[in-house]
Amino acid sequence: MSFLTPLYLVGIIAVGLPILLHLVRHQPKNVLFFSSLRFLEHKPPQTNRKNKIEHWLLLMLRAIAVMLLVTAFARPFFKNTDIELTAADTKHQTILLIDTSSSMQRGTLWKEALQTADEIIKQADENQIAIYTFDSQLTSVKPIKDSKQDTPQQTQQTDRERLTKLTPGWNATNLGFALSEIAARLQQQAISDPTGTLLQNSTIELITDFQAGSQINSLSEFSWPAEVQVRLHQLKEKQTSNAGLQLLALDEQGQATVRIVNAGDSKQEQFQVAYQTALSESEQPQKIYIPAGQSRVIRMPAIDEQQPATRIVLKGDKHDFDNNLYLQPREQANITIVHYGTPAAGSTESPDYFAKRAFPTTPQRKIEFLTVGPDSPQVLLSVAKIQLMIVSRELSAEETNLVKNYLEQGGVVLFSLNQQQTSDTFQLLISRSEQNLVSEADVNGYALLTNIKFEHPLFQMFQAPEYSDFTNLKFWKYQRLSLPEDVPHQVLARFDHESPAIVNVPLGQGHLIVMTFGWTPEASQFALSTKFVPMMNAILALNANMIDTPSQFIVGETVKLPESLKAAKVSVPKVSSIQLAVGQQNFEQTVQPGLYQITSQDETTPVQKFVVNLDIEESKTAPLAIEKLEALGVKLLNHNETTAANSAPADLKRQALIREMEQKQKIWRWLIIVALAMLGLETLLAKWIAGKNSATRKA
């Protein structure tokens, strides 16, 4: 055990005081007022040596209390060998944190940033330097752990080289995340150092334009370590104006709704917005007035269908890094539905009549409905392009194989067991040859649907009570299906005679939806009911490839890729295309704004197109007040100020270290508490003894 102020230990002499007090017998303290002393002779109390120390326990308690107090004043602490090591090896650590967000592309900001970083590296001298860049993410150029290598000269040289390789990207700024992440890493590093010297010796040199859109509010959820200090190098652009664009909506007609944000320090207030196609620019730009620090929402005219615009351009703004807004109108999806049915033009007796009408073409989708009859000429169909197959007739062996193959690849097949003949095809599809798997049901009057699984996507839309009434749907005839248990299947609805009505049989990667009835008016009321069209489209939507993917993203966002994509590549603006790995689900390299196209290897036309735009927050380039950071708890250092730990000479540092160590351990508190407890005990004991001895009271 060591002591911070060992001189106080001299006070241990005071322990003699209680002993002295116990040995020296004083005049009695209690005074009795008596009526007259005339008859009293002065007889002083006896002081026998034997009686001098009467209460050993009291004496002991008092002596211990004095000793504890003296020790507490001497401020004891336990020395730690680790601490000695760290104390001997205390070097200052600089964490260079450089903003590489897109707003740093403005004017000479990046040049200034590099110069500042260079100076910091120079000044850091022998100090250890870690280099990080940040935008929406924190990127380590030279992590904290690696900052203890090489000679200082070598290190400086390498660090400078590293700096030259850096460029500002297109991401938004998330300063709050970057700072809290760095602070957390420093804390992690300092776990082995209980004195906190490592933290104290760390300075974060933050080089940023510290713009309004820096997203520092997340710091409010982070408890900033008191030891870590930040020196902010706020870079300022001479030409302060800036405005940016944000796409709010792009409707089906191609009309864009755009928000234009003018930065708080802008001097420019008049702007023009225009479409720009791949070839030319719109001749009629839209004029707009936006005061500094405000934003306006405008609706652009419809895009010319002949020459679709690729972006919207903002004019009148000096900093053009955020003046382009890329557009990708949602493309009309081509959907192919194949119906193996009996074509009968205009006849309501044919299932094809209703099936065809259940899938109308809309602006979002273009339906190609192919009816393949038993006698139809052979059509070459690429299985990959078919979104839904409907089977309502008996299939030939070849067709059955085709359907099977389609199912294996993840397709969706709607199979209508509308007649006894189709049952053979069905059994072939599920590869079963048992007798009596399908038989004609004996319907007395009509049958109704019960036990409907409303949670299945097929019935989900009917879940609300106003739509869940299926009692108007009558079935005159149906097939009794008894699937063996070893065939995995899910009964989605039953007839009131408990025979399955709609069954989902997963086959391969696909789904075989079996309806044990026909939808023509001859067999049931299904095709004429309001449930028919929604349910048919719900079956179409079961196809995994039908999942609607958005086409507008922000830099840094992850794009979800369609499942069916195989061996595809993505063409990225200004970069050669990126090859996607097989089975890759996400595309994360949305590093810069522009149009991205995903192309399958065997296709020339892109499977999916999407655009990536800048985050609108980056356009809010007005500089923030430094106090904002301080208000969030970040400890800021002035430019000329050095950290206390750095400026102090070695002895002082050591002293400071010892003081910190002592302050952290705070053993003196416990000593004082124990001393107080001793004194309390002493008081109680003394009172008890006094009460026991004195029967008389003070007069």
Binding site: L37, F39, E41
Partner: protein
């Protein structure tokens, strides 16, 4: 003839007094009553009631209160109403003439502030005075009060009026001024001012020197007064039964001595007894009724003893 003596002469007094001795009020309980008047009432009308079943008895009897007119008597004193009824002439007796005149000399020096029972000797003495005054007022006797310490502090001349008891109580309730005891000055004052013969009751702890006590008591007696001396003492003063070693401070002089009471007890008792004997000798010599009352003695007992003593 004093009314007190007259009533004590009733034959049933002694056995009743004995019977009530067990029912006497504990002084500690009595002292908890704040009002002096109530205390006095409690003593007189509560426990003492049996002793004086009818305090007005002596006044209601016709023949004891009237005497026949003899020539030479002032005709103004003839009770004409009685003359009209009985056709005899009787002279109505003056109250002053017939009643006792009692002067109480109360010592309220600082030594009387001593207490070991929760109430001081002065509290006890005041209650004693108040009881006397109340008792006398019920008997239609005149009472007066002289409060003293080093000198005479206040005087309530002896009267029998309605407000006399109240005046005495007010005087008693006045906060004590307090200094040391000088018994001589009130005795001197009594000798000089009390013209009518009567009873003089001195109430004090008499912890002061007794140099001139004998002389002045002699003067009083020479003037024909009946004198009674109540010495009020605290039990602790008699026994000096303190366990703890302490500094003893004289209440009157402020002198201090450190003392082991156990060691000093024997010598103290001896000296005190000597002092008390001296007082008793003086009293016996001067024909003074001497009563030593410790503050734990029920008041009625003290009074009964006194009355019995007078009756003897």
């Amino acid at each position: 003839m004093s009314s007190i003596r007259m009533k004590q002469n009733t034959p049933h007094t002694a056995p009743q007094n004995k019977r009530l001795a067990s029912q006497r009020i504990d002084p500690a309980c009595l002292m908890r009553i704040k009002s002096l008047e109530l205390r006095a009432k409690s003593v007189v009308e509560g426990t003492w009631k049996g002793l004086h079943r009818s305090p007005y008895h002596g006044f209601s009897v016709e023949f004891t209160e009237y005497r026949e007119y003899t020539p030479g008597d002032d005709p103004r004193h003839i009770d004409w109403k009685l003359a009209a009824r009985s056709n005899q002439h009787f002279i109505k007796r003056f109250e002053e003439e017939t009643n006792l005149c009692c002067h109480m000399l109360l010592d309220l020096s600082t030594s009387m502030q001593f207490h070991s029972l929760g109430y001081s000797k002065s509290d006890y003495a005041k209650t004693l005075v108040a009881t006397f005054a109340y008792f006398l007022s019920t008997q239609r006797d005149a009472s007066g009060l002289i409060i003293f310490d080093e000198q005479v502090e206040s005087v309530v001349p002896a009267r029998f009026t309605r407000g006399q008891l109240r005046r005495i109580l007010i005087e008693l309730e006045r906060p004590p001024q307090g200094s040391h005891t000088n018994v001589v000055s009130p005795l001197k004052h009594a000798v000089e001012t009390i013209k009518k013969r009567g009873l003089v009751v001195l109430i004090s702890d008499l912890m002061s020197p007794l140099d001139e006590l004998n002389t002045h008591l002699g003067y009083l007696r020479a003037k024909g007064h009946e004198v009674a001396l109540f010495q009020i003492l605290d039990p602790a003063e008699i026994h000096l039964n303190f366990n703890e070693t302490a500094i003893f401070e004289d209440l009157e002089t402020g002198d201090r001595i450190a003392l082991n009471p156990k060691a000093a007890q024997a010598s103290y008792r001896q000296q005190l007894n000597q002092h008390l004997d001296e007082i008793q000798t003086i009293c016996r010599k001067q024909g003074v009724h001497y009563h030593k009352l410790t503050t734990d003695t029920p008041l009625e007992a003290g009074l009964s003893d006194f009355l019995a003593d007078r009756a003897a």
